[in-house]
């Protein structure tokens, strides 16, 4: 069962457009949303949470958000905190109490203690990591069933990133919870994602279960002199180094690999680096 179904999502800007974006977010799993910067991740997310106008449909728990604007069950963590900078935590709590129908004040304060966030601090005094934790505490305190995370770990140090991923894993212990995790720090997804959706230039390239996603590609390396021996139609991207060339290919198109090539380990990171690259 899918928690969210995005169908034929189109959004046009003067210099960029989303083109028929279609994918699903399965219920009870973490879906990683990957793509380079400026490829449409944030625009897609903004459409999911109704922050922009779009063509197409976003169906959340069998309800079309275009027709029935109801996303209180969605918790959002974006680059911007959406909180007044001069609010202290008490005012944040008051605002959330007004805004969310299912706000749980006690739970919120318990998360603040857990995350070591001082109630007297103002939003503007919080570090980036603290702000993310505050947003997480908010998302978890209004009983969100879907967490939409847009680059939550960028700018965090490794220990804070790990702590963040641990909290997400804990959240996922409830089988009714679902996460869409957009990031270009793909190491985070290696550990917690179950599905991967890959977007490039406003189009969904691939949407698969994580292991299938990794198996879909092969990374081949060869000397510079052998680079022209590869079947060009199978190549999805390449990187020319000083003495060697790296190719990203579709695994199905390259079942038999010539001995002039060696297979390298496939990772989400390498796929993103190589995909669409021409030199």
């Amino acid at each position: 069962m899918n928690r969210v179904e995005i169908k034929n999502l189109n959004k046009k800007y003067s210099n960029f457009s989303l083109k028929n974006v279609t994918f699903s977010i399965p219920n009870g799993y973490v879906t990683g949303f990957i793509g380079k910067n400026g490829m449409g991740k944030t625009t897609t997310i903004k459409s999911i949470i109704s922050l922009n106008h779009y063509d197409g449909s976003v169906i959340f728990s069998n309800t079309n958000l275009h027709e029935n604007f109801d996303n209180q069950k969605i918790g959002v963590i974006m680059d911007d905190s959406f909180l007044a900078k001069d609010w202290d935590i008490t005012l944040v709590n008051k605002a959330m109490k007004v805004g969310y129908d299912n706000w749980n004040e006690e739970l919120f304060y318990s998360y603040l203690i857990r995350f070591s966030i001082n109630k007297k601090m103002k939003v503007k005094e919080l570090s980036r990591g603290m702000k993310i934790k505050l947003m997480l505490a908010i998302a978890l305190s209004h009983r969100a069933e879907l967490l939409v995370l847009d680059e939550p770990t960028s700018g965090l140090d490794p220990s804070m990133r790990e702590e963040f991923c641990e909290i997400i894993s804990e959240y996922m212990e409830d089988e009714n919870h679902t996460v869409l995790f957009s990031t270009h720090i793909t190491q985070d997804l290696e550990s917690i994602a179950d599905y991967i959706v890959f977007i490039d230039e406003g189009k969904i390239i691939l949407s698969l279960e994580k292991d299938e996603f990794l198996e879909y590609f092969k990374i081949l390396k060869c000397d510079l002199e052998h680079q022209n021996t590869i079947n060009e139609s199978a190549v999805l991207g390449k990187k020319i180094n000083q003495h060697s060339v790296e190719f990203l290919v579709r695994a199905d198109d390259m079942k038999a690999v010539s001995n002039k090539f060696i297979e390298d380990k496939v990772s989400i990171d390498r796929i993103m680096v190589l995909y669409g690259r021409k030199k």
Partner: protein, 217 residues
């Protein structure tokens, strides 16, 4: 219900700026200007400057922190945000008018100024209408462009106000004639003002609603 939510949230968003320091500045300025002009109506005028200032604060704070997307996340329809903002502007004007009126009454007692009640009965409704009309002109600009971009354009109503004050110098006879007409026909004068107020409110609200509903965040 969501309009009240917006009202409360906007109030919370500007709460950090509704400080004792600002209240002291407001009272201090009102007292100084009124003492200098020896006109209790000055207290009302100064209070309205504060009302104008605070009515733009939800836009300023909202833009700085990206609070408008938060309202969408709370599932508040754009129409309710617009209604809530007009409601809070109205509340600011009324509260500051009450404040200004009380202050001018106190000052008139201190300076033993007579006829204060007649003056208030004439000035308070007119100031209310003028200030709210200025807000009605400003709000669609803020809703369309946000606070930073709209700030310059929002100065246009003040420019018109300035021009309106200069007009009598260029057409003294014509203005005298009009004033005389209104003095002779107070009923028509009041009805005209109220009509202008209602028309401005309707146009302003409709336009704000339209532009805000079309905005992406």
């Amino acid at each position: 219900m969501n309009t009240i939510k917006v009202f409360k949230l906007d109030l919370l968003s500007i709460k950090p700026y509704l400080t004792l320091k600002n209240l002291v500045i407001f009272i201090g300025l009102s007292v100084i200007y009124t003492a200098l002009s020896k006109n209790p109506a000055t207290a009302i005028a100064v209070s309205q400057m504060f009302a104008l200032l605070f009515s733009s604060y939800p836009f300023m704070v909202g833009e700085g922190a990206g609070i408008d997307p938060l309202y969408r996340i709370f599932v508040i329809e754009p129409g309710d945000v617009v209604k809530g903002r007009y409601l809070i502007a109205g509340a600011f004007v009324v509260i500051s008018l009450i404040f200004g009126t009380v202050l001018s009454l106190i000052i008139s007692q201190i300076y033993s100024i007579k006829g204060i009640l007649d003056m208030l009965l004439l000035n308070v409704p007119i100031i209310f209408l003028v200030i709210t009309i200025i807000i009605f002109l400003e709000y669609p600009i803020y809703f369309k462009y946000g606070y930073m971009k709209g700030r310059t354009l929002a100065g246009v109503p003040f420019m018109f106000l300035g021009i309106a004050f200069m007009v009598p110098n260029f057409f003294p006879e014509f203005v005298k004639m009009i004033l005389k007409f209104f003095v002779m026909n107070k009923g028509i004068c009041i009805i005209s003002l109220v009509l202008i107020w209602i028309i401005t409110l309707c146009i302003s609200y409709t336009h704000s609603n339209k532009v805000y509903s079309e905005r992406d965040f």
